[in-house]
């Protein structure tokens, strides 16, 4: 499984960057994205901003992972193998414990109808691919109230 689990303390470089930028404040962000290169890009951007980044590429067990890890922010791709991102989002919103979790929905489908569906399903923010790194960072920061 293409899974990158980067927790604080594992790498000194991560720590250094976290303390250096500090905006992420070590908060945990879960990236659900099946494209490894995109996942890597997001990991790099957020990690540099002081976030703790967990990546996962499979939709099937995504919900269990969220419950287990309790991230401060979820970045969710719509086209996930195993289970659709929007499906996961709806299930997540149905759980009272997770209803308030900020979720950024990312998708390569940039049409208006897709955006509406995403917002109806409970997305906190909708971003079309390709995105600007700065925008993604700003959105992440805003959603967790930094």
């Amino acid at each position: 499984m293409a899974q990158n689990h980067c927790v604080p303390g594992e790498s000194t470089a991560d720590r250094a960057s976290m303390t250096k930028a500090g905006h992420g404040g070590g908060r945990l962000v879960l990236v659900l994205e099946d494209e490894p290169n995109i996942s890597e890009a997001i990991r790099f951007i957020l990690h540099r901003d002081g976030w703790t980044v967990i990546s996962h590429a499979e939709g099937q067990d995504a919900l269990e992972m969220i419950v287990r890890e309790r991230p401060a922010l979820l970045i969710l791709d719509v086209m996930l193998p195993g289970r659709s991102g929007l499906d996961i989002l709806e299930a997540l919103r149905a759980d009272p414990a997770l209803a308030d979790l900020p979720v950024i929905v990312l998708t390569a489908k940039g049409q208006a109808a897709d955006r509406e569906r995403a917002m109806r399903s409970g997305a906190s923010l909708y971003m079309a691919k390709p995105f600007s790194n700065a925008e993604l960072l700003a959105a992440a920061r805003q959603l967790v109230g930094v």
Partner: protein, 913 residues
């Protein structure tokens, strides 16, 4: 016996008849009120007895006189009718059928009705009948006054006075019973019963006198026969020409005499009565003629010479002082005379009122603009007047002619006159080509010959025709002498007149008919008459009735016509048309009288909708049957066939339309599906393009930062590079697919060995996940097949299939088995691995665009590989399919060994299969 007693007896007899007639009339009315028929009138016996009106005073008295003068020749007068009733009953039946069907009121009406309701013909026949009957009625008056004279002897009152009183009395009786009411069918049940009673009286009287003569005066039949033999005189010799002519004349008279037509047709209550009459009437004639010759012979023997043989029937009993028998004979003769006069004047008055008085009066009223009102009173009064006039004319003739002529001769003059109707009547019943013009021409020419050659000379020389003309002809032209026209002078005057009148009549009738063209009503009527038996029995046709049609019969008919027309023309249009037609006839509402003219119009209207033949048949059905000839039926059938053909064509067209609609619907559904597919295709392309673009953008932005290490820089630049290649490959695949899908691909056809192509593909696919070791099982012997196809494209398919196996085969020790089979011109190559295969639900989808078994990155492509493979194989005239149940993923690539590049894609495939 005094005259007073005789007058008393006569008056008493008339009163007796009056009572019978009145009672019968009451009975008939009561029966009619209860909706039944008067049973006595419905008896064939009464019908037969009423026919005996043929036997007039002329028969009763005159036959004996005739026999005394000419021997057995009198028999011809009975022979003619007998032959007609026995041998020509089918003519009588048709006459009765037509007469009843057309509600004919008289012989003039029959002729007029047949020839297009021509009143001119009615007038001609009526005039002829009145002219012919005047001497005939005079004859009856004469015989009655003679019989009075025979009784009263020398002290009798003047015969003229007697005749006047007789005429007046008969006029009153006839008016009382003949014109009591007005019926559409002109039947007079009371009169008919009275006539039947009279028939019995005269037969009984004659038989009684005959019995008295044969067994009372002579010594039985043998003695009478001997006396007849000895009495034979030169002028008793049978003359074949006269016999033939007289028999013919009497036969014609039985159907053309107005009074015979009256009882035979008009008063007929049931056509079947004719069957009984066809033997019973000849029997009556035989009985009444049985004692004629014995009486004549005994009269000649026993009575003093110079006695009028016409009065032998009366004179013999008187001479023998048998007053009772004489009285009976007197009453018999009286019966014969009165019955004839009564019926004749009824018949003639009907003709006069219907064809002369009423049309004149109507014409007069129309000119004054008054068309409303009841005609019944007018008609009845016209008839009463006509009866008076007819008897008056008879009396006048009796006075003018001096009463000298022999009874029989006068009767025969009338016979010849009425015989002129025969050609027109026969033509009416049997010749559809007979026309009004022909009938008029025949009647007029026949009547003129009769007048000139027989009737006018009968008054004696110098009364109407001078003796000089009789001798030398008109203007001295010998061939115009009345008794030897055209130089024929070998015949006696009667036969001469009969021959020429009938010959010229018939010739004029035929030529006139051939030369003229019948009008529409004439044709309609002609068909109704000639085809009387092919029509519905009880139906009364749409055509001419009497002058006043029965209202009750018409209303439902018009209603039925309207109902039918509504069905065909549509409610509004039909009602408008009917209303307009009714208004034209001067009627309110929607129901015009179904006159032939109206029916013709309606038929035309309907014909525009349903075809001529059908329209005709439909109207005929409702109006009670007209001509439905074989041709008409054929026409209906062919129209029906045409309609059926049309409807079949329409059906075919509507099926075609339905098929087209279905095809359009399917095409539309396909288009919608294609549209959805296109949207989803674009959406997928967008997705496939955005994904690498996302990576490229994100890492480009990262690289633009100066805060990254050299190691990271290299790593991320490589990602950008890879994703760029991925984008390019995606675009290449899309273009490739597009070209293949549209069949616009340029195939590069080359010769190659299949085994070599597989070798090449195996080597090429090794670059995919090169770390995986694949065991290849193949039989190179089977692979030695020379191909002539686009070897590059084929190899591309092999590579794609092998690469997929390398990517997706999940067996620990992967094995690839390659099997080649050749079947005729076709080769199939199976690629089977030992992995878990493709799930059943996905097998149908793997050749779709953008379909991937796993995630994009692992597949390493946009999911277009197999879609492209399939397009390639279709272009090569083959196919690629997934073969389930082979213990792993199994793809079969099949294709023809030699490809004809000229064939289009679908055709290549068809050849391959």
């Amino acid at each position: 016996m005094t005259l007073n007693l005789l007058v008393l007896a006569a008056l008493g007899y008339v009163a007796f008849l009056f009572t019978i007639a009145w009672a019968a009339e009451r009975q008939a009315e009561r029966a009619r009120a209860q909706g039944q028929h008067f049973r006595l009138l419905r008896s064939p016996l009464v019908y037969t007895l009423s026919l005996s009106v043929y036997c007039t005073a002329w028969t009763f008295y005159g036959a004996v006189g005739y026999a005394a003068r000419s021997g057995l020749e009198f028999i011809t007068i009975y022979l003619g009718p007998t032959l007609v009733f026995v041998g020509w009953w089918w003519l009588l039946r048709k006459l009765v059928r037509v007469g009843k069907a057309q509600s004919v009121t008289s012989i003039a009406d029959l002729i007029s009705s047949r020839y297009g309701k021509s009143n001119a013909l009615g007038v001609i026949v009526t005039t002829l009948a009145v002219a012919a009957y005047t001497p005939y009625i005079a004859l009856q008056l004469q015989s009655i006054s003679l019989s009075f004279a025979a009784f009263a002897g020398e002290d009798s009152i003047a015969p003229r006075q007697m005749a006047l009183w007789t005429a007046a009395g008969l006029a009153v009786f006839t008016i009382l019973f003949g014109t009591r009411n007005l019926d559409a069918k002109e039947q007079h049940p009371g009169v008919v019963i009275a006539i039947a009673v009279e028939a019995v009286v005269k037969l009984f009287a004659l038989l009684a006198v005959g019995t008295f003569v044969v067994w009372g005066l002579a010594d039985g039949p043998a003695d009478v026969m001997a006396r007849i033999e000895s009495a034979s005189r030169a002028d008793w010799v049978i003359q074949p020409g006269r016999w033939l002519g007289l028999t013919l004349l009497a036969g014609i008279a039985i159907v053309t005499l107005p009074r015979m037509f009256q009882v035979l047709v008009v008063e007929n209550a049931d056509e079947r009565h004719l069957a009984v009459a066809s033997w019973a009437f000849p029997l009556y004639l035989i009985l009444i003629s049985l004692f004629v010759l014995p009486i004549a012979v005994m009269g000649l023997d026993l009575l003093p010479a110079g006695q009028n043989p016409d009065m032998f029937v009366l004179a013999l009993p008187l001479a023998m002082d048998r007053e009772g028998l004489a009285m009976l004979a007197f009453l018999g003769g009286f019966s014969a005379a009165t019955s004839m006069v009564i019926i004749a004047s009824i018949a003639l008055s009907t003709m006069v009122s219907n064809h002369l008085v009423v049309p004149l009066w109507l014409w007069h009223r129309t000119r004054q603009g008054q068309m409303q009102g009841d005609l019944r009173g007018l008609v009845l009064n016209a008839r009463r007047l006509a009866i008076g006039i007819i008897l008056g004319l008879g009396y006048l003739y009796y006075i003018v002619s001096g009463g000298g002529a022999a009874l029989a001769a006068i009767g025969l003059i009338a016979f010849v006159g009425m015989a002129q109707v025969l050609p027109a009547m026969i033509g009416a019943l049997y010749w559809r080509g007979a026309t009004r013009v022909g009938a008029a021409a025949g009647l007029v020419s026949g009547a003129l010959v009769w007048l000139y050659a027989l009737f006018l000379p009968s008054f004696g020389p110098d009364v109407f025709i001078s003796a000089r003309v009789m001798e030398e002809g008109v203007f001295g032209l010998a061939w115009l002498r009345p008794h030897s026209l055209f130089g024929v002078d070998a015949l006696d005057p009667l036969l001469h007149a009969l021959f020429w009148s009938l010959a010229l009549n018939t010739a004029a009738f035929i030529l006139g008919s051939l030369a003229s063209f019948p009008g529409p009503i004439e044709r309609l009527q002609g068909a109704q008459f000639v085809n009387a038996f092919s029509l519905a029995g009880e139906a009364e046709g749409s055509a001419a009735r009497g002058w006043m049609p029965a209202q009750s019969r018409i209303e439902p008919e018009a209603e039925d016509l309207l109902a039918m027309a509504q069905r065909i023309m549509g409610t509004t249009e039909a009602q408008t048309f009917f209303q307009a037609e009714a208004a034209e006839q001067g009627k309110q509402g929607y129901l015009p009288d179904p006159t032939p003219a109206f029916l013709d119009k309606l038929e035309l209207k309907l014909a525009s909708s349903v075809g001529t033949a059908t329209a005709h048949a439909m109207i005929a059905q409702i109006t009670g049957g007209s001509v439905v000839s074989v041709e008409a039926l054929m026409a209906v059938a062919s129209e029906t066939a045409q309609i059926m053909e049309h409807s079949a064509q329409l059906e075919a067209k509507s099926e075609e339309l339905a098929r087209t609609a279905r095809q359009l619907r399917e095409a539309n559904e396909l288009l919608q599906k294609l549209s959805v597919q296109k949207d989803s295709f674009l959406s997928q392309i967008s997705h496939e393009l955005r994904t690498p673009m996302t990576s490229i953008r994100a890492f480009s932005e990262i690289l633009m930062d100066d805060e990254i290490t050299g190691e990271e820089q290299i790593k991320y630049a490589r990602i950008i590079h890879d994703e760029s290649i991925r984008l390019t490959r995606l675009l290449d695949d899309l273009l490739d697919l597009s070209v293949l899908e549209h069949g616009q691909v340029n195939l590069d056809i080359q010769q190659a060995n299949l085994s070599e192509l597989i070798d090449k593909a195996l080597i090429a696919s090794n670059s995919v996940l090169p770390q995986r070791e694949f065991r290849i099982l193949r039989s190179t012997d089977d692979e030695q097949i020379m191909l002539k196809t686009d070897t590059g494209r084929l190899t591309q398919v092999f590579i794609n299939v092998l690469s997929n196996a390398r990517k997706y085969c999940d067996a620990e020790k992967p094995v690839m088995r390659i099997t080649v089979r050749r079947r005729g011109p076709k080769v199939s190559v199976d690629f089977i691995d030992n992995g878990s295969g493709i799930p059943k639900k996905s097998q149908a989808l793997i050749f779709e665009k953008f379909w991937r078994l796993t995630d994009t990155h692992k597949a390493g492509g946009a999911g277009l590989g197999l879609a492209i493979c399939r397009e390639i194989m279709l272009n090569l005239g083959g196919d690629i399919t997934y073969v389930p149940g082979q213990g792993g993923a199994a793809f079969r690539v099949s294709f023809p060994t030699a490809l004809d590049p000229a064939l289009p894609r679908a055709a290549k495939q068809a050849v391959a299969e």
